[in-house]
């Protein structure tokens, strides 16, 4: 590679990296825990429910054996006016529990109160319906944080833009590294000066995580910037969404119809579909225009992946007549169907179809590790940027500015670790009478504490201090997570391990693993020289 191109790529890698690094760090850190959203939900709930928790059955609890009509009857008994509504059922991950979402009623005759959408949880074990707010888990909070849901639609697109520029940074990074990609992979000089340590780990870990990071950069853009790909292609269909929907197995929008007194039962359709396709497991059940002459039922589901690799397994019934409106056979899908299926499976790390429960857990743990490694790569990149600019040739004013940027970046990024550990503790200890405000309390605690801690470390103006004490405090708080769980709900991790309550165990395990590693790191961190800003000491650039 010629010198000019090398320097151009280098500059692009630096600029794109430094612009997105804080956002990207938050995405990967929160995203690492997002992989275990369902486990965190169960972990939080455990100890609150009376009955003993069932043995781990994988993340897809059986939707096929649910009594849909019974649940709908229950909703009606609870006072919800159902006609004209859409009702959807999705597994939450907790055994025997489904998330029930009801859209606002399209029936023009109803009052305002009945028109409101509602998000509920139904537990088949206790046969109870709870509101979603009562169930708001810190896991969900972290999932939402990892696409900046708190900033609304803007946050979603921001996360998409960060993904896109992350892809750009990956490509330029590989190009910069290209000539020495093999030789440098085996170079690790932890005892040399800090700058070489950052560089060696940045490149070696960057290459190890490359396929994973590429996958997440592309799929992140796919999810958050999908509108850029989808909207313009509508022109090909003369702006008719029905044409696109027909090509891509999406369900068409059903217009509302006239109300009817006849209510069709849902359960027979589920069994009919399961008879038609052997081993079919519904993952999503959607009712449109309930109790209406235009009522439709859509069932999404899967068969064993070996029998239908690309297939989607979607069927739509017009329930009053019982006709099949649309059908995507799970055994005969093609590539065009499968793209969205595999984008989901890869991004959400859902490998239970392919690898079984144990394999799925194992791979999610590998994903978790790779996410944390990516956080390290991001941070070491910032530190390289900082040290490389701390030279005599750089004007003092510029140097001070860079230094300040470094303080802010490190303070914001590194403090998210102890704050997350604290968030887990709070989510476990919040008394049940505050359930309705869980989301507000958890958000306030998380963001409030994050702000305070970041400002504190920024004011200390010492990267060594920030690094050491975020690791130390995060490690100590992290060890409290399994302890709080043990004292509060009696679910000590050795009990949950021997009882095979994997969901609860895995959360404790993740925290013990993280805490022990970071405490060890914090213990090993040394100042290289007794100067006030050791990371910023002048180094000769290589």
């Amino acid at each position: 590679m010629n010198k000019r191109n090398y320097n151009v790529f280098f500059d692009l890698h630096t600029v794109s990296g430094i612009v997105i690094c804080v956002g990207l760090y938050i995405i990967f850190f929160a995203g690492a825990f997002a992989l275990f959203e369902h486990e965190i939900e169960v972990w939080e709930e455990s100890g609150k429910v009376e009955q003993a928790l069932p043995v781990y059955e994988g993340r897809q609890p059986t939707m096929s054996s649910m009594d849909y009509d019974g649940v709908i009857q229950k909703l009606s008994d609870e006072g919800y006016y159902l006609p004209g509504r859409s009702i959807s059922f999705m597994p939450t991950g907790s055994v025997g529990e489904v998330s029930v979402y009801m859209g606002a009623s399209q029936d023009t005759l109803t009052t305002d109160k009945n028109k409101k959408a509602a998000h509920l949880h139904y537990s088949a074990l206790s046969d109870k319906i709870d509101s979603h707010e009562d169930k708001f888990s810190f896991g969900t909070f972290l999932v939402e944080l990892h696409y900046f849901h708190q900033l609304g639609e803007f946050g979603y697109y921001l996360a998409g833009a960060i993904s896109l520029f992350f892809l750009f940074a990956i490509v330029t990074g590989v190009l910069v590294h290209w000539d020495k990609i093999i030789s440098n992979f085996f170079v690790f000089r932890p005892w040399a000066k800090l700058k070489t340590l950052w560089t060696d780990s940045h490149t070696a870990l960057g290459i190890i995580g490359l396929p994973y990071q590429f996958l997440y950069a592309v799929s992140g853009a796919y999810f958050c910037l999908g509108i850029l790909a989808y909207k313009p292609t509508m022109l090909l269909y003369d702006n008719d969404p029905k044409g696109y929907a027909a090509d891509f197995s999406l369900w068409p929008a059903f217009p509302g119809g006239e109300g009817s007194s006849e209510v069709t039962a849902i359960n027979p359709f589920i069994s009919e579909t399961r008879e038609k396709w052997s081993d079919y497991e519904p993952t999503y059940v959607y009712i449109n225009n309930y109790a209406n002459d235009n009522m439709h039922l859509q069932i999404d589901g899967r068969v064993n992946i070996k029998d239908g690799f690309w297939g989607l397994g979607t069927i739509i019934y017009h329930t009053p007549t019982g006709n099949v409106v649309k059908e995507n056979n799970p055994f005969h899908g093609d590539y065009a169907d499968g793209v969205s299926k595999y984008a989901y499976m890869l991004h959400f790390a859902e490998f239970d179809d392919m690898l079984g429960k144990t394999g799925d857990l194992f791979f999610r743990f590998i994903y978790f590790l790779l996410a944390i490694i990516t956080c390290f790569v991001i941070m070491s990149g910032v530190l390289i940027w900082l040290t490389a600019r701390d030279k005599k040739s750089i004007p003092l004013k510029k140097k001070r500015y860079n230094e300040r940027v470094g303080f802010i970046y490190l303070a914001v990024c590194l403090s998210i670790y102890p704050v997350t550990a604290f968030g887990f503790i709070v989510s476990k200890l919040l008394p049940e009478q505050w359930n309705a405000d869980r989301e507000a309390i958890l958000s306030a605690v998380f963001f409030g504490l994050w702000l305070i801690v970041s400002v504190f470390f920024f004011l200390k103006k010492n990267n060594y201090f920030t690094n050491k004490y975020t690791l130390l405090s995060g490690g100590i708080l992290g060890l409290f997570v399994p302890m709080v769980n043990g004292f509060y709900s009696g679910n000590w991790f050795w009990h949950t391990f021997s009882l095979r309550q994997t969901e609860i165990f895995i959360v404790d395990f993740l925290w013990i693993f993280l805490s022990v590693s970071t405490l060890f790191a914090a213990y090993r961190i040394k100042r290289n020289e007794p100067v006030s800003h050791p990371e910023l000491k002048p180094v000769i650039s290589g």
Partner: protein, 100 residues
């Protein structure tokens, strides 16, 4: 170790031209490329499915090229010509091989 500024663009106008070519220009070309293929290839479904993720990969590649040019205006011009050509292809594709 920071990139040697000797090799980098110093003019603001040059930089603006390169960034315009890279971000909106790269998007335009990659989108038009896939749409053109969707119209002219026998089966449009796999093309449009690939577009959903391939757009971002191709876009990233095209985002890189303008910065290798010494003159950013040349690249912007080239990208514009490409967009016009692809759009013409799309126009005739929609005329003679429409999807719907």
């Amino acid at each position: 170790m920071p990139a040697n500024p000797k090799y980098l663009t110093s003019s603001k106008w040059q930089r603006a031209a390169k960034i315009t070519a890279a971000i909106p220009g790269g998007y335009g070309i990659s989108l038009a490329f896939f749409v053109l293929l969707a119209l002219w290839l026998p089966d449009h479904r796999p093309v449009l499915a690939t577009l959903k993720y391939g757009l971002f990969i191709l876009w990233t590649g095209l985002m890189l090229i303008p910065f290798l040019f010494k003159n950013g205006w040349k690249c912007l011009g080239l990208y514009l010509v490409l967009i016009v050509l692809l759009s013409a292809g799309i126009y005739f594709g929609k005329l003679y091989h429409p999807i719907v």
